[in-house]
Symmetry: C2
Subunit: 145 residues, 2 copies
DNA sequence: AGGATTTATATCGCGCACGATTGTTTATTG
DNA sequence: CAATAAACAATCGTGCGCGATATAAATCCT
């Protein structure tokens, strides 16, 4: 009963600290690319599909425009992404990878393998755990409405 | 092979977004206590053991003094915590719950149950998943050295 | 057509989170 | 015992992340 309020039994604390731990493992790898961790995720999403809008990217990454706009401006300054208002709908900003941004993908391709190695698990196990955490996220997102 | 660089297959992205999702579920609950999520974790750690030092708390929460010092000052301003240099060792700052800080525990006791409910899982399943995520964190922390 | 509503992005303020650095106190070592 | 090193907390600069708000464009509605 009194275990209820012990930090080590909190799923939230586990996720919170695991997220920081992942960040620390990524940091030295991403430093070589000149990217932060959230910037890297944005680039991955754009490598997956170029020409997305700010809103579309935010939906994928679960981030607000208040977070993305400054981040994307930094990626623009770094020369990896261009931001341009759509001709069809002037409200929308379309994101396109620059040539340099596209080239960066080759340097980034080895990173997931490094993380998997650092996790000390095999691919099957990681995939299973990944799916479980996604299921948790979806349940939580559903409950917020 | 080309799945390697897909966002949905990233364990890191799952953890990253799950962490944000948890934050969003916690926010309305913590607002009633006047705490942010990291402040709440610090309070949980102090409810568990009062009189910890800044360094000791940081070790538990995996946070640096550069993060904790301002956070603890805010908890002090809120009237939940006192910060005082130890007489034995003037380098160390000892954290003590105020009476109000102790009382807050009663209001917080129901929160873990709300989160568990929002996760849509039973206690056994949550505990298992929590242990798996902790194991991932430990493996990652070990790899960083 | 024209005013109201909705949609998309941007801005602002606040609170983390960290690396690098600083200043003070304690411990160590020659 | 004095010089040096180590430990601890605090400060500073940068980059998220979000809620609230602003701004502008598109859509809706008589």
């Amino acid at each position: 009963m009194q275990d209820q309020l012990k930090l080590d039994n909190f799923i939230c604390f586990a996720v919170y600290t695991a997220s920081h731990a992942l960040n620390r493992v990524y940091k030295p790898l991403l430093d070589t690319l000149g990217l932060t961790y959230p910037q890297y995720l944005a680039m991955v999403a754009l490598w997956e599909r170029d020409g997305q809008t700010v809103g579309g990217l935010g939906e994928k990454l679960f981030l607000e425009s208040s977070t993305l706009t400054p981040l994307l401006k930094r990626l623009e300054t770094a020369g990896y992404v261009s931001r341009e208002r759509s001709k069809d709908d002037e409200r929308v900003v379309v994101l396109r990878l620059t040539d340099e941004g596209k080239r960066l993908k080759e340097k980034a391709i080895g990173i997931p393998g490094c993380i998997a190695a650092a996790s000390g698990r095999d691919a099957v196990d990681l995939t299973r755990l990944q799916a479980e955490i996604v299921a948790l996220r979806e349940a939580l997102n559903k409950s917020v409405v």
